[in-house]
């Protein structure tokens, strides 16, 4: 079956057969693929761990008569999208794209796509996944993916850095990158004083709009519609280096958001927190899950307990500062089994793009062996008015086993949530919680936390 997000490039497509991921390379891409191999670029990028490795399969595995080759790329444990990444994740993905372009130029090749969707995070680092993105560089020609790079990477990074970190969400609306004219309108005046931003976004946007308004004239050279002019190797290298310097100069320090200091201002005693860590660790070690989603991870404290037991852990949080902190910690410690991602579970990533199928929803990317829902339910049930039954149903769709923390109304955090509003949550009791969750799960254990009214429940999916 052809993967739903793999249809735009005539060079080939990704398919799934008997649980295996295969990529068909079409005959029209034969020359470029041969050049990729012959120049040694493929091997070089594999050595640098920048490009997804693959093995060649027999041509008998082909899906159509157009096939030139069939390859089997290494499977990515979890697919994530740019609108789920933190600032530094997007920045690292941008730098990887530019490094690959620089490396490709040395071999006389160039990237024909600079889409942020061509990058995935695997074992703690970004990796380029589109092996069919390389093409022979035309002598003195432009970088055809320049505009795409600016709208997929530079514009969102500049908006996050100069305007507001939450603007990364624009990517969910603009699947092919943020339009540069929009970015130029949204960026503050002082962003124009950054030379790189000035010409790669402001002047670029102006040039796009200005030249788009000029009606197409009959070209002097047949088949040539673009402005005449040559770009020397030095000039081309200068553009890529300038983009790299611009991206490197964009910085954002995680602070001041709602959850960034969550563990600093918690209502736990040290003893209760320590006991919680011990309980979670013990349950995970006994269950031995291969995949874990920590769905309210904050800076990833409990995700680290899961990953220490060998589980590939996706560490979700709603707060960009927490996700950023988590990612920077993963990078600093060389942690390869945690992937921090931005996710608002009251409005999680939907299926988007063509037919709403091009990019998968988060529910489609499950289920996993285990979900950690610690200090989660009260925010969703009381903070967002989601009935307990709907929470239980979603969690049942996401996992086979569940570790969930029950936070009663007597808890100071719940009291805070109810401070300025009427308590309309009559079913929000331990009894109501247990009767609702037992519709979908078998409750294995109940462990009250010392010095706290909170309880940890360990549950198994009924089917």
């Amino acid at each position: 079956m052809q993967c739903k997000g793999s249809f735009r490039d005539p060079s080939g497509f990704i398919c799934q057969r008997n649980g295996e991921i295969l990529r068909q390379i079409n005959q029209c891409y034969a020359d470029d693929f041969h050049a990729l191999q012959k120049t040694g670029l493929l091997k070089k990028l594999w050595e640098l761990n920048d490009l997804i490795p693959h093995k060649e399969e027999s041509i008998d595995e082909a899906f159509s008569l157009l096939a030139y080759k069939v390859i089997k790329p290494q499977r990515i444990p979890f697919i994530s999208y740019p609108y789920e990444w933190s600032f530094s994740q997007l920045k690292d993905a941008a730098l990887l794209t530019l490094d690959i372009q620089l490396e490709a130029m040395k071999s006389g090749l160039s990237l024909k796509d600079a889409s942020a969707f061509n990058i995935q995070f695997m074992y703690g680092k970004p990796i380029f996944i589109d092996t069919l993105s390389f093409t022979k560089q035309k002598t003195n020609g432009p970088w055809i993916a320049y505009g795409q790079f600016c709208s997929h990477f530079l514009a969102p990074l500049a908006l996050m850095c100069y305007r507001d970190i939450r603007l990364s969400k624009l990517f969910r609306t603009y699947i092919d990158g943020i339009p540069l004219d929009l970015a130029a309108r949204l960026l503050p005046m002082h962003a124009k004083f950054h030379l790189g931003i000035f010409y790669h976004i402001f002047l670029h946007a102006k040039s796009q709009i200005r030249l788009a308004k000029i009606p197409i004239k009959k070209p002097k050279t047949p088949g040539r519609l673009h402005p005449s002019g040559k770009i020397s190797d030095i000039g081309m290298r200068g553009i890529i280096e300038s983009l790299k310097r611009t991206v490197q100069s964009l910085k954002w320090k995680p602070k001041g958001t709602q959850w960034a200091e969550y563990y600093t201002f918690t209502n736990y005693t040290n003893r209760a927190f320590q006991q919680k860590e011990e309980i979670i660790s013990k349950i995970i070690k006994a269950a031995k899950p291969k995949t874990v989603w920590d769905i309210g991870a904050n800076d990833g404290k409990f995700s680290r307990i899961a990953s220490a037991s060998g589980a590939l852990t996706t560490s979700f949080d709603i707060d960009p500062a927490s996700v950023e902190k988590n990612y920077l910690q993963c990078k600093a410690n060389g942690e390869t089994r945690i992937l921090p991602l931005l996710m608002d579970w009251t409005n999680p990533s939907p299926g988007i793009g063509w037919s709403n199928e091009e990019r998968m929803s988060i529910v489609e990317r499950g289920p996993v062996d285990m979900v950690l829902a610690l200090a989660f339910v009260h925010h969703i049930a009381i903070g967002n008015n989601v009935p307990l039954d709907m929470i239980a149903r979603l969690l049942a769709d996401l996992c086979k086993s569940l570790i969930i923390e029950w936070v009663p109304k007597e808890d100071s955090q719940v009291k805070k949530l109810l401070l300025n509003r009427e308590d309309i949550f009559k079913n929000y009791t331990e009894q109501g919680f247990l009767s609702t969750f037992s519709r979908y799960f078998i409750i294995d254990s109940k462990i009250p936390l010392e010095d706290s009214a909170r309880i940890i429940f360990c549950m198994r999916h009924k089917e």
Partner: protein, 74 residues
Amino acid sequence: MLINKSRYNKMFIAVMALMLAQNAFGYIDMSTGSYAIQIAIAGFMGFIFVFRGFIKNFKEKLSYLFKKAVSWKH
């Protein structure tokens, strides 16, 4: 008379509409602008590169002359 006036009005609006008509942007091609700005930036980068090389050479020559002058003094 009234009919004639309204006919003139309609004709005036139609002529004005034709005169003020602009290109429709349903088929805009953003890549042309991206190409053009690349040519401009590449030219600028090339100039910077050559200029830096010139400054470097100039500095080297200057320091060479200065060293020569100092050694001659001694």
